[in-house]
Symmetry: D3
Subunit: 340 residues, 6 copies
């Protein structure tokens, strides 16, 4: 049985170290994209994971495909065609200087793909889980329709669907995102979000709390919001990530899972950041792994939170950590002692 | 008095050394574009050169602007707006393995600019030379119109116009290129081309020669073609470059100038290639410099040819060589002895 | 209206990452110098800034000039001549290991320039602010005289003068520095220093405090010292930086401004250091910007302190941050969240 | 139908550029090995290729596996176990300075594997071609036995076997190599060697020629030797490579194929060397591709020779070129003109 | 008078920055090994230090020798022969992600050397101190015998012997390590260990404490353990290091010395880690230096602890810090202020 | 018995690959200087070689010392003091673009040393050969005097003296060089020069030849010049290098030796240049080695010429090649075949 994720894979161009964009004269060239990141992380966990997308037939498209093959992701459902690989530029922040991302993704092969290029019957054969984020339907109306097609096919085939709304303001308005995602939510079994997105996209807020998404997340508020999301959309499980950004170098990181009517909170990790991008995707992969493996709720949220914690210490979008490493951390060893 | 060039400036991403695209995990990030290359080369010659274009307001756009400021090009006429910096990927060939270029330039700020964003009265004030290549009108109908506007303004103001047709098959068809360029040619005082382009774009061929653009260029054919071009379009001077590609590592390079009814041939250089891209632009800059300085025809073509020869030994698009270096080579010293 | 800064620009050679000098086999090659750093920072803020100096005509001198042009500094007043570009080697410290700087600046073009090479009438035309640091007069008696010339020309023309004493023990003795600077101080409108320098150079100390410059700066002492400096030299404003070095990796950073008889204290930032060099210059540039823009005293010191705080997160001497970034931090957002 | 290759994959450590070993403080880390190189090259040609070997379960073993997955090689038959990844250090020569290889491969996982770990029935299912080189049986008696097992299984299943004797003096003596290979030869359908190896290993020499393997290979001698090899071992086809080493930077490269009682000679290429290692493996892959595709003999040897020619212009062991690129060169275009 | 250390020197291969092994495509190539690290650190302190080992005659062996010569270590007693340089791969951890070491040292030249290749009479002539760690006898029975030979020769010649048990589970079992080391201990004058090793190897535990080696070391327990070790083995001095691993990025570091029947505790340093490997070796070198110089016990343990603290801020195995730097830190200046 | 060389060691800063100075943002940092280069090359040949100079006590001075220790040169006679390490910037040329060197060596520690800091009695004890070049006396009158002191001490002690005039126009005039060197020549046993220097410095020209130093050296002229030099200065042997610079990438290289009244010519090598600097020093070292080993004249000049040929294929100033490598080339194998 395998996991399918669907979205865009972009070339990620990053200046070396802590150089700013205007200082750059070379870029580290890796690849990333929310759903591809989830597939790669799952493959590191030993899961049979496939990524669905479209990439141009030229060498840069091939480089993108190879970045997934290298880490064991099944790329046989990636369509080849269209004109370009989307690009995103990322500048790593430090201390009080924030990280910056400049997107150059319009017109990419997948963003210009049409709904019926994706044969979901064939793609989903042998799958038991389908994951997408709000970025995919944001790329084009055709892709939003493709997401709906996929969700329906999953529902028909009894395949679990997970979704992270992952709102990107450069891609669509809150209004369009809210209405599009509301159409997809009924098919989503496992919803992964945070307090801010619940408020902004779906108008779901805890009573009496501060501004959602600002400052330290409040467990009580999160519990309320998760329960409300589960009720509103009929999700089996709702997970909320709980990040506190102290500076660009230091964050606190935790998460909770609402399952079976109860809220389970993971321990909180003080993280010294190597690469912040893809933390949420690492969380999604951890949660998918844990739930597919049948972990109990507390164990599942600890695993997913530890996986995402480790992501912050890995360069690039991909969370290249093993099940053993995640288990060790979730089991309490965050000492970072040398493993010989 | 200054020189104005008009076109697109792209981010140039190149794997290190001789690595192929599929081996790359970092890219050297420089900038280039035919007309910008000419401006940079002229600035190295001490000429007051300005580049006209449009670049996005974000940091990657700024990085592009800075790449020109660094080398002394006046960037005050570059509009800031639009969405993206065009990108081109270049893989350096060697021996029998050809260099490869993958363009990703559609939708760039300048390609989506409109004709009337460019205020030629203001831009051309104080200029005595205007240079563009066939790439600029190929980017969009609006830019083709902007080129025409610029040419007309030059004619009115007595500003010399030079053009290199620089045909790019990914941008437009030979038919569209031919018809668009034919409209612009009457304004061109100095035309810089090669035998292959003369044949393909304008149907001008030497009698009895082989396939133009294949194998060693024939001086006699070049003389015929240059004369025919001068006559057809009323150009004051026509220069043809004469390249023989032996392998990706070794070329022979020469050029000729038709001026005042006579053909002048430069010496031929065997070049060991460091970076092949921008050789033609280095030639244009050399010729513009020489003609503006009032060099005699033979001296002018020797200078331009030597300038382009040196470009093949400089990394990146920009021909970062001085007048003294060009003069030394044109004057006969190609020994490459260490200058202490 | 523009800002003029005057001093030396040096080649800065730094081993990669945290390598020590004796481990180096390549050096990052950037440029820096207190006054040039201020000019670059101001140019990033959109200010018309020019740097005055002297650099050799050879390619290394050109590389230095280009490092300024790239970031938009006006280099047209830089004289070209003399023999060498001063060099400084910097090794980045971490944790308890201190950063190290080895200077090799004797005999540089500017240090061997003579007073009358600088035509202040011409240079200062169109300027409303002149900035120098104590390093410039320390380089030679001729440059000290040139500083005096510049200061007098500013006084005559109503141009504001700012100065950071910036004592360097390798360049001159405390005695010589004190006497030379005392001659210049009467022309200084805005003095930027710290408690240690006030004590060492001018013998101005707060009553009953500990050793100035050691441990956590005391606000009360700073207020006293600033007031005393303002009174002694008749400065319009006096700013003192307040740094606490916990380790080479972590500092606390704040500052205060004495203006109109009152002391204004900025918030204190815990900084995780990327590059410590140029922090004070970033502060000077922030203060000059704020005062030229007419910020109120509290707003001005918050802006300058935030600017310098951000400098600690930027590689190299130059503080490559925008007004928007400084304002965001001064306005309270130090969370370092990713800006997409 | 797929191609199976069997051998060792080593970590290849190379100083940057033309640095000598004693100058190195970093190594480019790629992977290579004669049979893996063939698999990678075939995968670039679109062939379904699998590589059989054994690698340790730790991360360096995984890095080796990933180097193959990245380029599309099926790694599902690679056993995981044993202690180490073999290493080879390579220093790139230039001009009269020869390239150097230092092997550190003893005790690698595959060299210490036992014969019966390889289940040839399962591995060869669905295959139509099996390739190995003399390096594999040289690694251990167990691997020699495994080669014999594989050959017998191929014979039984009608799978074509190709072999390149690839003698390495550090691994075994000429005597042991000769006797071991003689045992395997009867199963080899396609033999790929050169004049020197035919003489050294099998005592087969052309009449009246000079020292085999020294100086310019003589076509007549090659024809004699190939015919003798075919007769001696009953091979369907024998190919001989014909290299002339002028310097470490420049070689002449050609090859011939003896098939159906006739000798076919490819054109000779003057190659400017980027990376010399893996040239012969690139030839093997080219020949396997051509013969599997049913090319006529002349076409086949031209294709294989052109493939190997291109390998000399690709960094690393792997010949990352496409069928289209090989065809273009074999078809006569070695001009290296930029492909846009 | 000189110090002799005896052990293995390995090639250390590390991905750049914080990259994981599976992301690596180049490795920083330095050298390290516990005893060589001590020799290098001593040489930086101005001590005449020689390293005894065996390395292959090829260029990689030479590179290893050169890494020591570069830093002033006497390499004239290094035997040249055998087959390989041991390799170890190290991946730098960060935050909760632990550092990883993969050893590939079996079969190295020194591990396959025989006891009587080492002529201790000659080697120890002119020496007053001999240092080894438990790694050397772990490499082979022959080397264990060689250690015994060396210890006996030292006892006979009145040369001080120091030893750090340095247990490596990949090299030998606790049982074998315990019994082998017990045989050597009677010759050890200065023992350097930690609480965990005392318990695991020698069964020496403090009464009523927690698990030795886990969590924050307890001074009282350390005092007990050190006294017990001194009594058990008749050591003149016993030093115990006291590390608290908070994360892979942040540790607390201290140590104590038991001497003359009393325990001396150094101050504790919060260290922000640049490179964790070699910290213990830096401590050994610091202690050897201090004791040879005749420092009082408190001064000695402060010096050794400060030396090791600084090691955490130096890249690579070698602790490249001077006596002046260690003294400054031991004397209280951990502010990391820039040294100009 | 050992060889002593005396001169300056400079930090050599070179942009990466073929980048021009104005493109550089990092420099490879190695060290070089004519006499140090000779010492390093001799040490690679197994000769006991010491280098005499003066370097500052700071870390950059130490880095310079370490660059020699690493390659086995005895640095115990290097004085530590003075202010700076001389610097030279080198830009690698290619094809028709010449290499460039910018010197920044004035005021270096050795150039400001005084004559009596060098205790030649002590330095020359145990030496049988002393080598210097014309650069050393050019640095200062004090160093010229020190050279004279050294020469006289050699004559008294029967130590062979070799000298390469190595004229540098930036350091002194031809007149001053000629007169200073003429004073030293009577002590020189082995003179190493070229036709151009013989003419420019000493006015010694072959009859009827072209301009010395331009174009292809003529054997007959060289024989005449060498004989004349030997006669004029009473040298035992005179060697002349014979370089033909075709381009910056390709040179022809040969040399001759006049000894015992006869001229011996080495074979000529076509060299593809990796690094041109230090070729002459490689020749000197080769000749010193060969003559000290008692090679016959023809064998000696072949060895020295082959050594220098190989230098052109080694990065940096130092000729890091072994006796075996030189012998192989001198013996006729210039094929550059991979050495496994």
């Amino acid at each position: 049985m395998k996991v399918i994720t669907f979205g865009e894979l972009m070339l990620r161009l990053a200046p070396e170290g802590y150089l700013r964009f205007v200082q750059a004269d070379r870029f580290a060239a890796t690849f990333g994209g929310a759903e591809a990141n989830v597939a790669v992380s799952l493959a590191q966990f030993g899961v049979d994971a496939a990524f669905v997308s479209k990439l141009p037939p030229h060498e840069i498209g091939q480089l993108a495909v190879n970045s997934l093959r290298r880490y064991g992701v099944d790329t046989s459902y990636i369509l080849r065609g269209g004109a370009r690989v989307g690009v995103y530029y990322v500048e790593k922040g430090a201390s009080q200087r924030a990280s910056k991302v400049v997107y150059d993704r319009a017109g990419s092969s997948v963003a210009t793909a049409s709904r019926n290029e994706f044969d979901w019957q064939k793609i989903l054969a042998g799958a038991d889980w389908f994951h997408f984020t709000g970025i995919t339907p944001a790329l084009s109306d055709e892709l939003a329709a493709a997401c709906l097609d996929a969700c329906r096919a999953c529902r028909a085939a009894g395949i679990t669907v997970s979704c992270d709304p992952n709102y990107r303001k450069n891609l669509w308005s809150l209004e369009k995102a809210g209405s599009t995602l509301r159409e997809l939510m009924p098919y989503v079994d496992v919803l992964i979000a945070n307090e801010g997105q619940a408020a902004d996209l779906f108008g779901i807020r805890a009573t009496g709390s501060g501004t959602p998404g600002v400052g330290k997340p409040d467990p009580e508020s999160c519990a309320q919001v998760a329960a409300a999301l589960a009720q509103e959309f009929g999700c089996r499980q709702v997970a909320l990530t709980m990040r506190t950004s102290r500076t660009a170098s230091d964050n606190d990181w935790s998460a909770m899972l609402y399952s079976g009517g109860k809220s389970y909170f993971a321990r909180e990790y003080p993280v010294h950041i190597v690469d912040r991008v893809g933390g949420g995707d690492g969380f999604c992969a951890g949660l998918i792994y844990a739930l597919r493996e049948g972990f109990a709720a507390q164990e599942a949220i600890e695993f997913a939170t530890a996986a995402a914690c480790l992501k912050h210490a890995v360069e690039g979008d991909y969370n290249l950590v093993s099940v053993e490493e995640v288990r060790a951390l979730a089991g309490g060893d965050g000492s970072g002692r040398v493993q010989r």
